[in-house]
Symmetry: D2
Subunit: 389 residues, 4 copies
């Protein structure tokens, strides 16, 4: 089995990996059928940060938090950033939201009406203002734009409108800021989606410039799509900006990353390692919904799942793999990969945590901490945070 | 092309076909991302019936309305039935709802906790009480029950619990009442669904008795599933209770029936015709969401789409088809079917409507009627009906 | 319904549309389970052309024939071209084949072994030599390259090898020659495919130059993929080289185009019309397998299906559509499109044929011609053409 | 992590598990595009058994071999059984083949022509004769029957014909013999398949009797289908006859079991364990194609993959799982399952092998044995076995 010789390097790589958690995952979420409320859910952006600080405290691997505007709208973003810093956190990617206003029924930046497009664009530009205040590097753009019926709108004209809006936003980016463009196969649009696949996102990014990058949400593909292939391609093109991690059995289920297909997550992380994606240019973000499970421990578990997949990816004996590949030895090459995957990396990660002064079992530590009881008791009254803003 | 010789029989069959519209389709709906409110949407069950009466007035083919409990809960169901009768309508299937209470986070009749199961069962039994009051024939059961994560619950124990609840409800059914059991591939559960396919629904119905029948929602299948095959099988087994019609490009998109794949709808209706399903035993119900389009004209259009598909199915030259099939002439057999499909049946249906004293163009007639303006003006204040009860 | 005012323009457009038939569709084909032999199947490239001439004779719309090398290898391609000309045909796209030699077990131009890559490249260059001899404009490249198991080969290295081979071939193209790069979701490779989607093909074409274009095989997508969206995008980018038409219910079923989802074919042709794709730059090719049905009438039917979809697409009232789209009237816009689709265009096409001196019913005319009996009687002995070269 | 306390019971269960290998997996296979020949492939049923004996020698877990008729047709089946016994093997399930004769172009037992149906039925009955001679318990029936085009044949009439044939075969079964009915989503038929899903197979088995059982081929489902749910259901109904194991990323890829989604294989084996399926009533068969990898080590690896998944399934702490499930603790229940899955069971299986006097690493032992070189040297001339009979 896998030699332990490379363990120090593996540990160093793991120590450097940061997983960004999304503010909205601490709030309520659900399906179109029902949002189940959970006790203790945060009511304000600061309470979300309080919860995120627990995740980072126990994992040591979740130092930044993505915001979603307007769900996390505050009067003073610099103050929010300072609050985060006080908790040992950074504010991460700013996520725009141009899908929850009645004006956006037929789209936002792709809407047939110029007034609506302008409104959407203004929101995107506002998000860059917020980035200036929070010091965020990444603007994450997801557009729910699309159509439900054949003929509803002109596919090509919508592309033109999209390109125009993206150019205006790109132009506005400051030094060191990036635009991450997300694609999604379907939902909430059910016939066309204006950015449905990596190819569309890539084509737009190419025209914008180097700081326009594609973000891969692992739940946003057609059935059977080989995601790690896309990851390898985007890294080869220098266009992989980051991940929105989650997992799914069917569509955009938004389950805990690694829960549905841990082998797929490993293969994805292998391509990240192979393509040099651990060097900081690729943002590892979670984007999940914890509809039936408690949120904080689910997020802790998700961070751990990313770490375990990364650890296994790092344990792949690259030299043996290359040798088998070059020899055309299919079974040997596959066996090298599987050897790493079959390894139980939990002891390694437990060791890593202990070396960093953390509890080897973050979930157990969280449960012992009493935080769940504390927030259930204290967060009474007010309006729980949720997707509905 | 298709001989017109059989037109009188085709018209007679079309005149006898009734499409049931769902009360909830007149209210607001949406995705988990946003419910877009529309002006003029009903605020009460009676206002829903008022709208349904417009659909029937213009199509002559939508005489009954399905209710959803608790969305359509009223104090006096007999009075509601009388109100419907006054509009020329009947109350149709009673649809239970055991998915929108916080208690149902982990399921309803399959929930691990007996208290929750009892609560869900009580609701189902209440629905039969309501059927007694409304004179409805059909109880439609859809369970959102399932799990999101491997291990979350015991698949087999959940089947046992499901069987127990179904038996209790079946036992309660009165003379002439039926139970229609719906299946769904996924959503809102994302790992297992307790009734995920026709086979599961069929197996339960078999054990219950003849009045337990399977209902086919055309949006509830895995990608690529041949729905008309299932229809043919269930008719052969005497277990096709009805349809929940809608259409989809991806998952349970709930678009207007016939909008995404009109050829599929035709093939389904062909199997209905072939299997004797136009004789009254199969309920033709719509179950759709009009998220971005106005509801009443969308429902009118949907009724028309069912009629057009049925008309084409009736026009298939069955004798020529059988001859080609028996001769093993693949292209000739396919051509017989396509000949009917390629026929423009809109003139035939226009004629049928005129013979019945209706406008040949129901959508245009609706637009001319001024109803849309009237409800926009009058339905001000109050809470618009929607999925959220 | 659709105004007939634009009929002359529609007819002119239809008269100018040419559908290229593939030589291999006249030979035997099948699945991995069985190739069913059919009587009268051609044994030589010339006999394939003889059959193709029948298709063109009866449809007037299939003037060119694609070749597949080595299946159509002859000593003298100029003589073959002359033979075709004598039949009123042209030789069309040259299709390379780098998947049927034992050397290609692990790939062709992406193979880990440089010797195999060289062999594959030599074949591609030979295909350009053949184009020079036949006067063909298009080189169609489909690579079955990929892997079956995770780890089997390095995804990125394979892209590098692919890029190198494509550049060498592109360099070799003569004046007026184009390279059409095909993508395919899966099969025969079952884990990764080296050109799995339009994005990958597009990215390579971009780097090569303007004469590298993407070809869309309508059976080569993930379930649920919106093909017309891709068509619209590629036309917007000036990168749609052509189609390989066929239809499918599941995977790459290679059924007659329009047989599985005629509405989809119409939507695709609408985007072609909308994007200016009828001007000659887009090649309309068939790529089908007639496993259980007789080949010549199946191909005639396929040509007719393309014509019918095109006719409907041309009948769309573009002005009314734009007006409804700009007004955000979802149902009206959809209705404009559906009005064209629901129109029975068979009379229009019959008229068009009669105006061109053809039988209005090409299939019936073929059956009356006696050709099927003739080839069954005469093509006795020898080896029937098939995929196996 | 998982307590070691239950290891003796786990080992006992593992020792009792037998995996049946298919004779045809030792021969050549491929896709419709190409069958790549491999050196040393068997030319006769006896040579296939010789190879199968190597698999059993190194794993100790593959004592029986399934036959495929006519691919394994011999004059004297009793002699073949004796030959197998001499190698320490048993002959297992008899697999019928009614798809490779030109007569079966439009189906076998569902064919519109009674003559072809009779021919197919005679073959099925012959297979029972062979079972009598070989002492096989199971007759495995897979029908490629279906249609490629809408209208091609009558769906319901085909079901009637199928039922008639199945009844005739069931009637012929001797004491202790079973009929295993396989279903498949699609391929080689591309529109309808006559037994496309478990529901259809189950409905037929119910009517036949208790010895008619459903067999689950893990590659025969629609995308996204939850296979372990079907396994749990069939076990609950007493109708799970066995598995045809393999794995897939897309369709019926027939890759090595456990190669595409090892977590799914674990979940399936967990439901088998949970449902009492390790007691002998469920046949664990492989049905794979080794198109690009050498066959014998691929089969050894596949047997090992089944063992590893079973070992993990057996390690699940059932008591802890039930407790978490009953408490509605989603994350704890999932964690119990994942704990077993994340465990590296390779040391346990190595130990088990050593206790049985086997090499702990079967693949390495096979490579050291020199068998591959021996068969490459000796099996020269003749015709290699393959799917083509």
């Amino acid at each position: 089995m896998t030699s332990r010789a490379d363990v120090p390097a593996v540990k160093a790589a793991l120590r450097s990996q940061a997983v960004e958690t999304p503010s909205w995952a601490y709030g309520n979420s659900g399906t179109r059928f029902k949002v189940f409320a959970q006790p203790g859910v945060p009511r304000t952006p600061r309470e979300k940060l309080d919860d995120a600080a627990r995740v980072h405290e126990h994992t040591g691997a979740a130092p930044s938090v993505a915001l979603h505007i307007p769900w996390d709208r505050v009067d003073d973003y610099a103050a929010l950033a300072a609050y985060a810093a006080g908790l040992g956190l950074r504010l991460g990617a700013i996520n725009s939201n141009v899908f929850q206003d009645d004006d956006y029924r037929l789209g936002s930046v792709c809407h047939p009406d110029a007034r609506v497009r302008r409104k959407a664009l203004d929101h995107l530009l506002e998000c860059v203002d917020i980035m200036d205040a929070t010091g965020s590097r990444d603007l994450k753009l997801w557009f729910s734009d699309g159509t439900n019926y054949p003929g509803q709108d002109d596919v090509r004209a919508r592309q033109d409108r999209l390109a125009e809006a993206l150019a205006a936003v790109y132009e506005r980016l400051g030094e060191g800021q990036r635009m991450l463009l997300e694609y999604k196969f379907f939902e909430p649009a059910f016939y066309t989606t204006d950015v449905p696949d990596w190819g569309t996102a890539y084509a737009h990014c190419l025209k914008l410039g180097e700081r326009a990058q594609v973000v891969v949400d692992t739940g946003h593909h057609a059935p059977g799509t080989n995601i790690e292939f896309i990851v390898a391609l985007l890294l080869r093109e220098g266009r992989l900006g980051g991940f929105d991690f989650n997992s799914r059995f069917y569509a955009d289920d938004d389950l805990m990353v690694g829960a549905a297909d841990p082998f797929q997550l490993f293969r994805i992380m292998y391509e990240v390692v192979r393509g040099g994606g651990l060097d900081g240019g690729v943002a590892f973000m979670l984007d999940q919904c914890h509809n039936v499970e408690p949120k904080i421990p689910a997020i802790i578990r998700s961070v751990m799942n990313v770490q375990e997949a990364t650890a296994k990816a790092l344990l792949v004996d690259r030299e043996a793999l290359s040798a088998a590949q070059e020899a055309g030895d299919v079974l040997a090459a596959n066996a090298v990969l599987m050897d790493a995957y079959d390894t139980d990396v939990r002891p390694l990660l437990a060791e890593l945590r202990e070396e960093a002064g953390l509890d080897p079992d973050p979930v157990a530590a969280y449960h012992r901490s009493g935080w769940a009881r504390k927030i259930t008791d204290e967060r009474v009254g007010g309006t729980q945070a949720g997707w509905g803003a």
